[in-house]
Amino acid sequence: MRAYLQKYTSAAPLAAFRALFGLMLAISTGRFVALGWVRELYISPRFFFPFYGFEFVKPLGESTYLLFAVCGISALLVAIGWHYRLASIALFLSFTYIELIDKSTYLNHYYFVSVLCFMLVFLPANTLFSVDARRNEALRAGQVPAWCVDSVRMIVCMLYCYAGIAKLNSDWLLEALPMKIWLPAKNDTPLIGPLFNHLETAYIFSWIGCIYDLSVGFLLWNHRTRPFAYASVVVFHLLTSLLFPIGMFPYIMIVTALVFFPAAFHQKIIDRVGRLLAFPPGAIRSAAHYRFPVWLQPVVYAIFALFFVFQITFPFRYLLYPNELFWTEEGYRFSWRVMLMEKAGYTQFTVTDATGKRQIVNNNDFLTRLQEKMMSTQPDMILQYAHMLRDHYAAHGFTQPHVYVDSYVALNGRTGKPLIAPDVDLAQQNDSFRHKSWITPFNNEIKGL
């Protein structure tokens, strides 16, 4: 381990990754604003679903635009490597804050971006090919500790591998669900559309998808298989972007996977672009070795050790819960479970009180379409919403209101059934990491991990 920690490698892959990743995030942020999603998702809604333990993250109203400005500008600063340390901290905090405002916008790829931003805060990604290196000769270094580059590769590997492990279940492999449902929806795609009508295609997609996820990280790491693995990354992600509405994620993955390429590849790009931008040679290539400040080094080691222990174990927390993970979603998020389920739900809340008041709630009075859709299939959000309704009606003439929900949820083509016990007063229940006993048992089995 000690020998590994003292191993050095070219800084080029990390620098190139920083530049590309920052650029992608800047584009992504700009796109988000341009599509009007800031208002739609973070300003217009009446109510937000904060994450458990992060209730202090509040929506910012019109200032959300400011937050996005900070995020976009810091992403650009990270890309060009100007005031890099400060910019990377601002990027991590602003991006993560945005993602924590409302659970209904949760996407694994946003979490992945947050995770990468967190790592960039500590990594020496600005020692080459950056404005900082251009201005500050003392900062320039062509060699960084090998673990700095490897940790980025490692997290990419883990993302794929965990996404593959999540597919090792009977619905995915034996029933070709949800592919069987999703593919026929695309049977009018030019050329390949008719293929999607066949069950075989759904099985092939499921199995290839699973094998791909499980193996591609390692194949990218191995220099012999790398060109094929990278080609498959490009094809796979372009195909998914064609078939499913998953925004920037495919492109971010295509760019991120470049980090596996050898230093010479990145150095060539940096040389070329650097010359174009009239970088001094020392800021493009350097023989210097980057060294963490003595006081900081053990801290960074500790943070990264803890970080990886967390990353490795956290996705398995679902094992601590009874009942079916896909049904209860206890331990579902932050675990690289991507595109695994077709889940749809319908909820109707009734608020009553001891004085005989009774109101059937129209969800659209309180929630946006997206929020209602997300809430209807996720028990923790149902509870948060029930509490919101309790407080709302308590303020509007109900005395100690009771909140009940009539829910109906369909998972992977199974006929819908109640997700929540209809006779449980949700106003009295509290959220915690403990199992939610008021979730109706799934009464069906999805075998596997």
């Binding site: 026929p184 749809a344 009774r358 109101q359 709630v361 006929t415």
Partner: protein, 374 residues
């Protein structure tokens, strides 16, 4: 040679019969081809249903002219009968609230009830009042005509007096003409679009993303069942939805009294027929939502029961509850409201299946916001 021919014919015959015996699994691509489904729905159901409605509507317009020309008891009776038949036929097209009908928001101008008596009175006084703004919805269409020909007096004599001896008689007659002209113009727009370019657009936009035909249609259909059949006809009048307070005056066709259940039945059976792809003229089942869901193999993984069977079974339960109600739902709310609420409850179960099971099996996102209950 003859023998060979006979053998060939036999084989051919066998081949045909074994193929046509089972109406069951069509070739996968055929059943899942949304353009086939959309074309059949448009040509076999939507357009002919509009044609059928137009015939009834034209008759009503004709009878209304006769009535406004000579408002006597016989003309009133004929107008009323033609109105009732047109109203029933309307229930068989109201569900097509996507494409041209959605663009023209024809439902808002044809069947928003209860009618606003004050609004109608104001419009009668002021013939230049707008019939385009949302506030004018309950002052026109079938509900307004219901009020005008069934609700203006306690009996026919009193109603006829409104159109003959009353000081505003001429204005009232003019308002009938105005309401019918407005309906005619809107219907004309919707129908000419269906018979023109829109048909191709409808059939060719085969995607399932927001804005494509199937998605628009399914969204419109689920909304129709949820808000306009379940809530409008049962949930709201019975009070099953808001605070449990019955509102019998909110039934459809309030003034004629003995038609609300018949209209609800027409709407419900039209809905079931559309779901099953039944030809509007021949009644034969063809490509439609049912065949598409079957081709997708949508079924309960536990019991293996096809989803379309479950949905049809629930439709039947709801139709049975609806079938035993008396024609006058106003009276039913007042005297037999539990039966109204039971109908609502069974319809609610169908809503869940349509909104969750069906859309999930089809991979369609529900994009409309439901604003009922207030």
């Amino acid at each position: 040679m003859k023998k060979y021919f006979a053998l060939l014919l036999t084989l051919l015959f066998l081949g045909c019969s074994s193929g046509s015996d089972k109406p069951g699994p069509e070739p996968a691509d055929e059943g899942k081809d949304r353009s086939v489904m959309l074309k059949a729905l448009a040509e076999n159901i939507i357009v002919p249903s509009y044609d059928q409605f137009k015939t009834k509507f034209d008759l009503m317009a004709e009878k209304s002219k006769a009535f406004t020309a000579k408002p006597d008891a016989q003309a009133l009776g004929e107008f009323r009968n033609a109105w009732a038949e047109a109203y029933i036929a309307w229930e068989r097209v109201e569900l097509f609230d996507f494409g041209p009908a959605e663009k023209q928001t024809i439902r808002n101008f044809f069947n928003i009830y209860p009618a606003s008596e004050a609004g109608i009175a104001a419009n009668i006084t002021d013939p230049t009042s707008s019939l385009e703004v949302p506030a004018s919805y309950p002052t026109q269409g079938f509900p307004a005509l219901d009020y005008l020909i069934n609700g203006l007096g306690a009996n026919d004599t009193a109603i006829l007096a409104q159109y003959s001896t009353d000081k505003d008689a001429a204005k009232k007659l003019a308002y009938i003409t105005r309401v019918i002209a407005r309906m005619e113009s809107l219907l004309g727009k919707v129908m000419s679009e269906w018979k023109g370019e829109y048909l191709n657009t409808f059939v060719s936009k085969t995607g399932l993303d927001i804005g494509s035909s199937t998605s628009l249609m399914v969204n419109g259909l689920v909304l129709h069942y949820e808000r306009y059949i379940r809530s409008g006809k049962f949930g709201i009048p019975s009070g099953a939805m808001a605070n449990g307070i019955p509102a019998p005056e909110k039934v459809e066709a309030l003034y004629i009294k003995n038609m609300s259940q018949i209209l609800a039945q027409a709407a419900h059976s039209a809905y079931v027929d559309f779901f099953n792809g039944r030809h509007a003229v021949t009644g034969e089942a063809g490509p439609g939502i049912k065949s598409y869901l079957n081709a997708l193999g949508a079924k309960d993984s536990g019991t293996g029961k096809p989803l379309t069977e479950s949905i049809n079974a629930q439709f039947q339960v709801a139709a049975a509850k609806l079938g035993v109600l008396k024609p006058n739902l106003y009276e039913e709310v007042k005297t037999n409201n539990q039966a109204m609420k039971d109908t609502y409850t069974e319809m609610q179960k169908a809503v869940r299946m349509l909104k969750v099971d069906m859309t999930s099996a089809m991979s369609i996102t529900i994009t409309y916001t439901d604003n009922d209950g207030d």
